[in-house]
Amino acid sequence: MNSSLALDLEKTSRTANGGIVVLLGLFALAGNFISFYFHFGTVAFLLLVLLNTYWRHFQSSHTLLANFGFLAQFRYLAESVGPEFRQYLFSSDTEERPFNRNERAEVYRKSKGIDSSSAFGTLLSYDPEEAKIRHSFYPTDKQRLEKFDVAVGAARGLETTYHINRPIMISAMSYGALGENTVRSLARGAKLAGIPMNTGEGGYPKYHLMENCDLIFQLGTAKFGVRNEEGYLDDQKLADLAAKDQIKMIEIKLSQGAKPGKGGLLPKEKITKEIAELRGVPQDKDVLSPAHHLECVDAKTTVEFLARVQKVGGLPTGMKFCLGRDDEFRELVQEMKRQKTLPDFITVDGGEGGTGAAPKSFMDDLGMPLFEALPLVHQILSEEGVRAQIVLFASGKLISPGKQIKAMSLGADVAYSARGFLLSLGCIQALQCNKNSCPVGITTHEPHLQKGLNIEDKSKRVANYVDALHHEFDELLAATGAASASSLTTKNIYFSNANQSVAANN
């Protein structure tokens, strides 16, 4: 495009590069002949000229700097502050990802106990491709709504059967990814709200245990906290942990939505004495999290491992995964039937799930989305005749009651959220969880950043969020005409033509 107003960048940069040399000379002369004060300018331009000479003639890693000199730095400057400008000024209320401003504001209001009613109409484009909840002509009277109660472990007749009484739980986030104050705020909030909290795979849940809430211990592929030196399960350590009163369930993590099929690496520089103790790893070696449990190499060994954990732990035990191939999952379920070992629950994590750190390509391109995977898992379990014995948890951006109702219509029994709870703590979606520099002190271990995160205050917000979610969940449930969440089916959800395949499968 040619415009008379267009700036000729090459000419401008040539002028600027020459201009600073001329200015340097002028300041030097003025400093010498008029007043020494002008040498302040001489020094400033001298440094700029030296830097500019380096950028233009002695480096080759930045083409723009080599071609255009110091003016190119303005591009890097603008680029570096771009995300903040977009977030605060230029992005509309509904276009940010992973959560837009409206979604975040809704969580903030719920967690602060502020009225969250809006006026005039939806701000969404009411996207016809998105699933919507179907309401009934005959909504359920509030007093007829049944109490939310999901029993995990009841199918096996376990004495340790655990009852979940609210539709939402705190999903897996480990100490390590989160700071100490965050873990304690969430745990205290969970206790106040009467919901269980998943410990994440970060090893012995020291800070989770401090607040006396119910816990789901997550057994990650590296088995932090319950591993032997080679990274295999140490039965005794698991038995000791499971014997703790607060540990109510065990979740074997096969994969995670944000990075399915990927292990992690904990560099030795980041392993403090405390983390080494909690995770049960040496402090002087990098720790590799394998992509799969060393014990689980096929369906047979995976089910054997499940049976072993169920036996050693004696608690309701399930598995978490992000669905990849449904034929593999069916094979796994058939193997469970052969070995007469069913998990007490299955957590289906959508590919849109969150993480503290993962390679971008894994976040963007791997794993089935929750609303496609969930009905498939529900369908396979039903077809194999074991659905009634297994509780289904769902996770993946389920931060609002509407999404939770949709998930339950697609087969879930209980919803999990991690990032929703981070937002309730005041997360501003700065997207720095992997940098230890979280400005609101949530995903950092820096004491000066954690200082602002008051455990007493924030734990109340967590509880407020759960209360407000549950209240609205009941209202929506009543509107569907159902008496309980367990009676929701795909009949309660509307799919556009684009998504008919999901409905057709059920």
């Binding site: 020494f36 020094v43 700097l65």
Partner: protein, 127 residues
């Protein structure tokens, strides 16, 4: 980035000299007054230089040492210009001690700036 012992040492050396020089200027040390009189900057220039030296010294001792080192390099470049154009190598028969101090601060600040260059926003990533 991990800060090495030599870098920390260089920070402390440069900061000590800068803070000492700054205090002498604030106190109105006769040597400093003479220098700034020769530069025709007395007393304003002396106070400005003292403020910048103090700031550079304190920054060098803080987590913003990279910024302190750049400021110190600037100050020392200015001092070099003064010695080259008006003061000469020897000031008040000091046998070149002042220029020696200047060289120590300049070299240690350069060392700090180079080893902590990644901490300087925008510019740091180009090295």
């Amino acid at each position: 980035m991990k800060t090495t012992l030599p870098t920390r040492l260089a920070q402390v050396v440069a900061a000590s000299i800068l803070i000492f020089a700054s205090v002498m200027k604030f106190k109105g040390d006769p040597g400093a007054i003479e220098i700034f009189t020769k530069l025709e900057m007395e007393p304003g220039g002396r106070y400005i230089a003292a403020i910048f030296e103090m700031l550079a010294g304190l920054l060098l001792l803080s987590s913003f040492a990279a910024f302190g080192s750049v400021l110190a390099i600037g100050m020392m470049a200015g001092a070099l210009i003064a010695h080259a154009t008006r003061l000469g190598l020897e000031v008040n028969n000091d046998g070149g001690a002042l220029v020696g101090q200047l060289a120590i601060v300049l070299l240690s600040s350069l060392f700090v700036a180079i080893s902590r260059r990644k901490e300087i926003p925008i510019i740091g990533s180009s090295f």
